[in-house]
């Protein structure tokens, strides 16, 4: 099961600052709710974990992140992540292209396009909510990212990312809330 997610998030910093932070894989990884970069293998390869808990079901993915391309001219980063659930029941992959777009002065946009694939239990049980869940995860990611770049911009010590483990209940609530809103949002949904 594959879903393609394209998102644009406005960032409260200059394009250069955002690009600088984007190249810090550990930093970026830790902005992902539930994710942690556990090991730097070399410049291009990292190891990490992602944990998610929804109700009684918890999944913990272990995997590799490979930096495929870093293009300073276009401020583009291409990452490939693959992993499997530690219980061996699910697999996941992500192909992400992130670009920082200058919108002038002290603001910019983070443009992300990712293709997320799921196999096994995660696809069977999570398939129908995958789009909504991915959207929530990305929203939290963008919020964390914004906090980090804001701090970087003002050279302050960055606050800790909001959550170290993805909070299933809050996530579920956000999914339901957005679905509910979507019902009344007319045809744009």
């Amino acid at each position: 099961m594959n879903v393609v997610i394209e998102k644009v998030f406005p960032m409260p910093c200059s394009a250069d600052t955002a690009w600088q932070f984007l190249q810090n894989i550990e930093g970026v990884g830790n902005c992902m709710p539930g994710a942690k970069i556990t090991e730097r293998v070399d410049d291009k390869n990292h190891k990490g974990t992602v944990s998610v808990k929804v109700g009684p079901a918890s999944m913990s993915f272990r995997g590799n992140i490979e930096v495929r391309e870093v293009d300073a001219a276009t401020r583009t980063l291409h990452l490939i992540g693959t992993g499997s659930d530690v219980t061996g029941t699910s697999g996941a992959s992500m192909d992400l292209v992130a670009t920082v777009k200058d919108t002038g002065g002290t603001t910019c946009e983070l443009v992300g396009k990712s293709e997320v694939g799921m196999t096994g239990k995660a696809a069977a049980f999570g398939g129908r909510v995958m789009n909504s869940v991915a959207e929530q995860i990305l929203k939290q990611f963008a919020a964390n990212f914004a906090l980090q770049v804001e701090a970087l911009q003002s050279q302050q010590v960055a606050p800790a990312p909001v959550q170290s483990e993805m909070n299933g209940l809050a996530l579920a609530w956000a999914v339901v809330r957005d679905w509910w809103r979507g019902l009344f949002a007319g045809k744009s949904a």
């Binding site: 099961m1 594959n2 499997s84 659930d85 530690v86 219980t87 061996g88 029941t89 699910s90 697999g91 694939g117 799921m118 196999t119 096994g120 239990k121 696809a123 069977a124 049980f125 398939g127």
Partner: protein, 809 residues
Amino acid sequence: MDATIDNKTVPSNEERLAKLEGMGCSRKRYEDPRFIQGKGNYVDDIKMPNMLVGVMVRSPYAHARIKSIDTSKALAHPGVYAVLTAEDLKPLKLHWMPTLAGDVQAVLADGKVVFQNQEVAFVVAEDRYIAADAAELVEVDYEPLAVLVDPLKAMAADAPTVRDDIKDKDVGAHGARKHPNHIFTWDIGDKDKTDRAFDNAEVTVKQDMIYQRVHPCPLETCGCVASFDKIRGDLLVYITSQAPHVVRTVVGMLSSIPESKIRIVSPDIGGGFGNKVGIYPGYVCAIVASIVLGRPVKWIESRTENLTTTAFARDYHMTGELAADKDGKIKALRVHVTADHGAFDACADPSKWPAGMFHVVTGSYDIPNAFVSVDGIYTNKCPGGVSYRCSFRVTEAVYLIERMVDVLAQKLGIDKAEIRFRNFLRKDQFPYQTALGLEYDSGDYEPALRKGLAALDYPALRAEQAARRADPDAATLMGIGICTFTEIVGAGPSKMCDILGIGMFDSCEIRVHPDGSAIARMGTISQGQGHQTTYAQIIASVAGIPASLITVEEGDTATAPYGLGTYGSRSTPVAGAAIARASHKIREKARKIAAHLLEVSPDDVEFDLDRFVVKGAPDQAKSIKEVAWAAYNNVPEGMEMGLEAVDYYDPPNFTFPFGTYICVVDVDRYSGETKIRRFYALDDCGTRINPMIIEGQIHGGLTEGFAVAMGQQLTYDDAGNVLGGTLMDYFLPTSMETPHWETDFTVTPSPHHPIGAKGVAESPHVGSIPCFTAAMVDAFAHLGVTHMNMPHNSFRVWQQSHALNLDQR
């Protein structure tokens, strides 16, 4: 009062018949008191001392190479006794096993996995919880490979190869293979004659259709308890099997243990519907684990394991063509099927028939020319292809021909009932040789359809439909579906049908005790059919022993005579015949004993319900009960003591039940929601043994037909993920969704069956599914729709409505 004859107190015939509870009476099900009180004894109810429990480690990938398997953490887990992988089974040569279709299947994945949830390792532990926890500790390193999901793309040059183990074999169990993903091509019929009939036809029609992948989904999942006695060298296996003797033979082949030391017991079985015919890796692993550990090992599937790894049904991608004249008289039928068999060819068909009895596809119609070609294909999906409540691909065949007749009717503007009358086989054409080589035993189709049309006032329904169609404000569309099917059941004649070389006969052994009660054992096994009730009725009618005094036992290979089991509606046509013949043998021996007691010649004695009377002297009689007592102390000179009989019945032909089904639906054009307004089912199963059980069978079959047509589908995404693996996604109708059924019948006995019975359990499934589709399509037919693929759930029906702009107000 017992049947002892004292002339002054002989009960009336009615009273004696009531006491016998023989064929034709609605005897209450003997099985029900234990089932409805929760006193059944299913495999998972069996608990043996020192029993361990096994759980499978399964693949999350549909297609991946296994780089390594690390079992050390699982083995270190407290309470774990063993973790089996393919490497452990290799020295025993048990990492692969033969399938019923002449292929091989990996017991535990050997080098790569080829479908999602495939068996990778088997963890044996103190209890199920420990085993499940430890299964999560088995670390498998996979390298995902490109996945083949669409069978229509399987033979492309660049298609991923599913089966590395046989990729270079250019001949399979059913002939030449033309691609690594090709299993077989099976042709039947006269191609040239059929092609010529098409070339010369006044009218031809062609329709593609998909019979989606579904699963029988019995309430009880599959499982077993294997117990090997190391001292005695005996293997005992309690198993959810529809064919325990076949399991014994296969286990003997695989393990080299002689069959005399293997005892297979199928206790109460909670529904099979084809799902419990095959041999599954879990059974093999439990048996191996028990032999290795010397302790009983239980393996029971979860619901998801059942839906996603044990045998599915259908997945036929079909193209049908009819050639006809302008009056709708059919001249020829041409069919091509791409059959998705999944990753291993584990179909449960008689060995010589890779597409089962699909060649019953000419249906109830006089079709002079026909040609069928079926391509079996490997994909990265679960293996299977069993007959879900049908006799070997008959459901697919009936679906195709019934759909095609409707398509032809629409093209010619002929009423869908009328076109059937124009093409029906006439009663005087039986026995009838079909263009595809079958000999139909008996049938009388026209009166059945007339009865159905009258019961529903068909002209009034069509008038109502015309008015509805003419009304632009009508919120609902109305559809009328007709299905006039012919089934083929009772596999089967050993000259045509075998499983692993064993002819598909069946058997019965009856022993009458001195007190006149009896025990009867058969090679079949009930999974809800009510054999303990109906089999006793056959014996009661033929041998005159009250059904209530007969114990019917099946499913234990230590006691039952060898039989091929229960599936494909074969119990009544095959075992039922063996029972009738064994009962007859009992009666004939009893006649001789009665004559001896009455001091007359056996020729002067006649059988009368439950006794023997001297011809012309009705006061001279001996009851069966008296004869049974005499069989153990006073038999004619030269006769062996005792009163028992054995019969192995090899049927001369299949039986061909038929029926007329009519369905009326109302479809909400805005939401796609469908209401089954009426469903009329007329079945002709020949001689009727127990009308109440027949009605129950028909209700069950119709409900499962409704499930398939309206909601069931095992969906796979592009990555080979099963998306229908839970009852959250897989439709299982309850009384809330199930429509009201109206049943009816005619009786056309089978001429070659000892009691004229044909079998009934599958007709309602086979016949109802095309009937639902016919009704759904008929609702849209006036707008040019000729076919809609199942399942007809609201969303898919709405899509049809939306495509025609019918959902706009």
